[in-house]
Symmetry: C2
Subunit: 327 residues, 2 copies
C-alpha cells in the first residue's frame, strides 16, 4: 500500500474539538488500562493477537454504514478516488474471522459495516474506539454514510445531519446502565457539517441539505409505518406524527444516529452523519424504487464523502466526477 | 426437495395457543389487506415478484439467530438430520439479493439470520411474519438459537428461556410508537419450554436448564461490562447488579429475546428462545475461549433444536448424537 497520504495530511487541524487531547481518542474507562489483554470479540481482533498500532496507527478517516456489501463497494471506490495502485478488487476483509461486521482498509481510511440499529452500531463503536485507542490513532474523523427515509424532501436527497434526535424529537440518547437510565447528548461537529456542505456544492447532480435526523429503535411502528406486521394507528395519526417531526426540523429518519453521535462525541471523535433518502415518508411507506435507482442513491453519500476526503488530502481534481461501481 | 415431512407432521397440534385461529399467523394490521403489493424490502422478497405460497406455504419451523454463517451451518446440519437427499452444501440463500439477512430452506424448516439487537431482529420479524401470512402458513413454531452471557451457570450451558425480561428484570418490551411508549408482554410458550427440556434429556454431553433471559440494548455498559470504551461504574456495582439479576431468576443475557417474544406472541406464533452461554458473567466480561471451544458451544442449541424438530417429525433415531459441522 502506498503511504502517500502522509505527505498530504495537514500538520494541524484547526477544526478539532477543544475536548481533544493531542488528537487521541478518549477512552472514558479507568478499568481498561489494567487489562492484560483486550479481545475485540465482534471484530475478531485483539491486543495480543494483532499489532494494532502497526495495522491501524495512521488511520485518519473511518466511514461506517449498515451493509457490508456497501462498505466494501465504498472501499473499492475510495481506492480509485485516492489514486492507489491496483484495481482495489481484491481488498481483504480485516474482520474475515467473524461475520458480525466487515472492515476494509484503503490508505488512511477504514470502511466498516455496523448492521442495523443502535445496539448493533454500539457494539461496533465500542470496539472500534478501543481499536483506535490501542493503535494510538490521532485526529480521526468518522462519518456514517447510510440510507434513510426522507421527510418532505425529494427521494435521493442527501441529508447532512446537524442534530440527531430521538423519536420524541429530543437531542438525546437514553441508555439503561446497571438498571438506571443514563441520558447523553447527541452533538455532532458543526465544522464538519459546513465542510461537507461546501463539498456538496461541487456535486450538482443530486440535492444535498442540512437537517435534523430522527433515530428510532424500530423501522415499522417506530417510524410510523402502516405496512408492518403490527399497526394500531390510522393514516391520519401517522401523518400528524410525521408532520410534527418535520415541523421540529427532522428531514430524515434512520436507526443509528443518536448512539453514533453520543458515543463518538464522548470519545472525542469528530463525527458526521450523511444519509441518502430512499423515499419521502410523507408520500408512502414502502421502498419501491428499482434496484438500479436504489443503487445509484446509495452511491450519493459515498461520492460526497469521497469529495470531502480528497479535499482534506489536497487531492482536488476530479472530486465528485467519478462514481462508485454497484455492489 | 423431498416433501416427506408432510407425512410425518401430526394432523392436530394440542400445544397450539388458544389465540390461534386455524393455526394461521395473525397480522394485526388492518392496512395490510388494502395494499396492492407488499415489498418485504430487507428480505428482497415481495408479493408481486415471488409466489410466496408456493415458496413457503408448507413451512412449519423457523429458526433464527444472529450470525448468517451460523444459520447457514444450521441449515446444512438440518439437511443431514432430516435425511434429505444430497449433502446440503449447495443451499442457496433465498435473500441473496440483499446482505441485510440470510435465509435458507431445508424441508419444512426456514433458517434465517437476524443480526444483533432488538431493532435488527424486529425488522426481520415484521417481514418474516408478513411472509408467513402471505404464504398462508399454518401451525408454525419459531425458535431463536443464539449466544449469550451466562449468569451463575457454567460456560457452554444451554438456557431455555421461560421468561424474557428487560434490563430492569421486568417481562416487558417497551417501544415508542408515534412518540408514545407502548408496553408489550413477553410471554413465551410454556409447552414448548417443556418439550425442549424433555429433548435435552437425551443429550447428556452438555448442561441444559430453564431460566429467565435478560435482554439489553447494549453489550458493554448495558450488560454491566467493565471493558467497553466507556465505563462509569466499579466492579462492585457491576457485581451487585448482576447478582440482583441472578436473584430475580436471570440465567443468561442477550440482546433480542424481549422483542422476539413480544412480536411472535402478538402474531400467534409459538416461540422459544434457546441460547448457549459463552462465559459466566459473574467471573468476567471478555469472551476468551478458543475459536474451537466457541464453535462447539454454538452447536449446542442447534443440536437441541434438531432433536426437537426430529421428535416433532417422528424421526427419533440418532437425535442428539450427530453434531453440526463448523461454519
Amino acid at each position: 500500500m502506498g503511504h502517500l497520504w502522509h505527505l498530504l495530511l495537514p500538520h494541524t487541524d484547526p477544526g478539532m474539538p477543544s475536548t481533544s487531547r493531542g488528537g487521541f481518542v478518549h477512552i472514558k474507562n479507568p478499568h481498561l488500562e489494567a487489562m492484560d489483554e483486550d479481545v475485540l470479540y465482534h471484530l475478531d481482533l485483539g491486543t495480543k493477537t494483532h499489532d494494532l498500532p502497526a495495522m491501524f496507527g495512521d488511520v485518519k478517516f473511518v466511514c461506517v454504514g449498515g451493509s457490508p456489501n456497501r462498505m466494501r463497494a465504498f472501499a473499492q471506490f475510495m481506492h480509485k478516488e485516492l489514486g492507489l495502485e491496483g484495481d482495489g478488487e481484491d481488498l481483504a476483509d480485516i474482520c474475515a474471522g467473524t461475520d458480525r461486521y466487515a472492515m476494509y482498509r484503503v490508505g488512511p481510511l477504514l470502511s466498516i459495516s455496523h448492521g442495523m440499529g443502535i445496539p448493533s452500531v454500539s457494539i461496533m463503536l465500542h470496539e472500534l474506539i478501543k481499536l483506535l485507542h490501542h493503535a494510538k490513532c490521532r485526529d480521526v474523523t468518522i462519518i456514517r454514510i447510510g440510507t434513510s427515509g426522507g421527510l418532505g424532501v425529494q427521494a435521493g436527497s442527501v441529508v447532512i445531519t446537524d442534530r440527531a434526535v430521538d423519536a420524541c424529537f429530543q437531542p438525546r440518547f437514553e441508555q439503561v446502565v446497571l438498571g438506571d437510565v443514563v441520558v447523553r447528548g447527541t452533538d455532532l461537529d458543526g465544522g464538519l457539517v459546513e465542510e461537507l456542505l461546501a463539498c456538496s456544492k461541487a456535486i450538482p447532480d443530486f440535492p444535498t441539505l442540512v437537517g435534523h435526523t430522527m433515530c428510532t429503535y424500530d423501522f415499522y411502528e417506530g417510524q410510523g409505518r402502516l405496512d408492518g406486521a403490527l399497526c394500531s394507528f390510522s393514516n391520519e395519526k401517522k401523518l400528524e406524527y410525521l408532520k410534527r417531526a418535520h415541523d421540529a426540523g427532522v428531514r430524515n429518519i434512520e436507526m443509528e444516529s443518536t448512539a453514533f453521535a453520543a458515543l463518538c462525541g464522548l470519545c472525542g471523535l469528530r463525527a458526521a452523519v450523511v444519509c441518502v433518502t430512499l423515499l419521502d415518508r410523507l408520500e408512502g411507506d414502502q421502498i419501491r424504487a428499482s434496484h438500479e435507482v436504489l443503487q445509484e442513491y446509495q452511491q450519493r453519500p459515498q461520492r460526497l464523502v469521497a469529495a470531502f476526503i480528497r479535499r482534506r488530502l489536497g487531492l482536488h481534481a476530479a472530486a465528485g466526477n467519478t462514481r462508485p461501481s454497484s455492489d
